[in-house]
């Protein structure tokens, strides 16, 4: 059996993902749960993690007695397990592990929580926590060389500028959260019904939303209300309204984030957001590469583990 070299944990607001990693980064086992930060008091993180390790051992996996565990995400927030202070821009991806904090614990483990990154500009402050590890994963072994603008769509979409392995700037748009708020709680809930979040990028309504918010970016508050009128006056159905709202919000995100045309753009999305963002970027005439975001956190945790623990454990 391949030896477990480290354990990576992506501990987010509403989710927990754990990977047992071999020395070469191969995933030997994975666990997922809904035990996110928002449901855990600070003293509930260690028992939660202990439960997962015990379950893995019960499953017959050779989890070391003194495992090396590297964690990214909201577990390091002020209201998380233990705060891992933000590193400031610009941040070399290779330096992220130097900002990790060690967490004393009763599990016999060497536990490190990776820092987030802060943009401390008082005109537009910004923070990320978790995405920096995905970007480290994207950079992989070539992180010294990566230069690109990286889009990580989501509840809080991140656009990060990476120059030769250093994160030099980033911005966050509240795109996914705003879509969910409008769908669940606003007047538009009557026009959106129980529609799935996923929208069809081929729907002409999606394109209409993109057109509106890229041509008239100042009109977002009016355009969003107009969707209600469209369903009242023109009988537009739930799927069309959802697609137009997606187009409006993704178009607004792009209009706000794309102040200059980056030389290289990488879209790191999942199967749900990927097609929408790809269609939107095509619409704006941007060229871009795509990568599957699902593997990036695990890859980034592996890279971090190799940087924190450069030599194998003594057996």
């Amino acid at each position: 059996m391949t030896e477990i070299a480290s354990i990576g944990v992506d501990w987010g607001t509403s989710s927990f993902r754990l990977w047992l990693l071999a020395r070469d980064g191969a995933v030997l086992a994975e666990r997922r749960s809904g035990q996110g930060m928002q449901g855990l008091a600070p003293d509930a993180f260690e028992p939660a993690l202990a439960g997962h390790l015990a379950a893995l051992r019960t499953d017959g996996l050779a989890v070391p007695k003194a495992p090396r565990i590297v964690i990214c995400g909201m577990a390091g927030a002020r209201q998380g397990w233990r705060e891992a202070p933000y590193m400031d821009l610009p941040t070399a991806l290779n330096d992220l592990p130097s900002g990790a904090i060690e967490v004393e614990n009763g599990l016999g483990a060497d536990i490190r929580i990776l820092p987030g990154i802060a943009r401390r500009n008082p005109d537009r402050p910004d923070v990320m926590r978790g995405e920096e590890t995905q970007i480290l994963g994207l950079a992989g072994t070539s992180q010294k060389d990566l230069s690109a603008t990286i889009i990580l769509p989501g509840t809080h979409s991140k656009w990060s500028t990476v120059e030769k392995g250093r994160v030099t700037d980033f911005s966050t748009a509240m795109t996914g959260e705003l879509f969910a708020l409008l769908r669940e709680h606003s007047l538009l809930r009557h026009s959106l019904g129980a529609v799935a979040i996923a929208c069809d990028p081929l729907n002409p309504a999606f394109r209409r939303g993109l057109t509106q918010s890229t041509e008239k970016p100042a009109n977002l508050l009016q355009a969003v209300f107009s969707l209600r009128a469209r369903s009242l006056l023109f009988g537009a159905g739930n799927a069309d309204i959802a697609a137009e709202l997606s187009g409006l919000l993704i178009g607004a995100e792009i209009a706000g984030a794309l102040r200059t045309r980056p030389e290289r753009l990488i879209l790191a999305a999942n199967a749900q957001t990927g097609p929408l963002y790809a269609a939107a970027l095509h619409f704006t005439g941007m060229n871009f590469d795509t990568v599957d975001v699902e593997k990036l956190a695990c890859a980034g945790l592996h890279s971090a583990a190799r940087l924190i623990w450069p030599t194998p454990r003594e057996i």
Copy 2:
């Protein structure tokens, strides 16, 4: 005792207001309740109204046996009491009562529900229902002559262009609703706490929000997230975050609505929104008149009643 010539009702989504009106428009009595459309099935409107009339009679008021009742607002929506179809742009304010529907009822009353106004442009459809009556009230006896852009701030802020007594265009911004959604349900709730909706227009954070959204109107989704970072990185308090969010959203509304500089601008606001919108309009260099919005619905219902029933009731 002055005779009750008509009864005006402003029946909104979440509120009910009723006025007993003299022939000259003087208010003889008023009732308010939270019996809005959203809490009433279609067959619950008549009993609700009957209850108010009975209460007025119990109070000793001489409500006629066959009262003339004119209603505006969401009672005329599809999901209201009975649908009063929208009139199309352009709409002469004087013609609004011609679009009212009569409601058969068991109260012995002559009940009319005023129509809303629709903007049926497929590029940006829009609707109003209730505000047209406030504008009629603003125009008052001079409605043939009123020419102005009228701002009615609120949950759904309306900007209406009136030319010589005709509503020729309007737009709606989801400003107030979005503020409430972000305060109650978004990530920002952690930074806004239980802060009152009312914000201080003299707070420099309000001005910072205005600057941001008028100078960079495409950046709204990023600017809103940035507020969370401001509280995390700079320890900004609830009041400052609320003021900056108000500035961002009101600034975005103005940037989106003010495509041309109107010759005359009238701000029809209440004590809560008035100071914020006045400060925001000053900030953008606009001149404007202000009127108290609280009296407009009642005044408009009176004007409508005079147009519907030009002669006094026979006694």
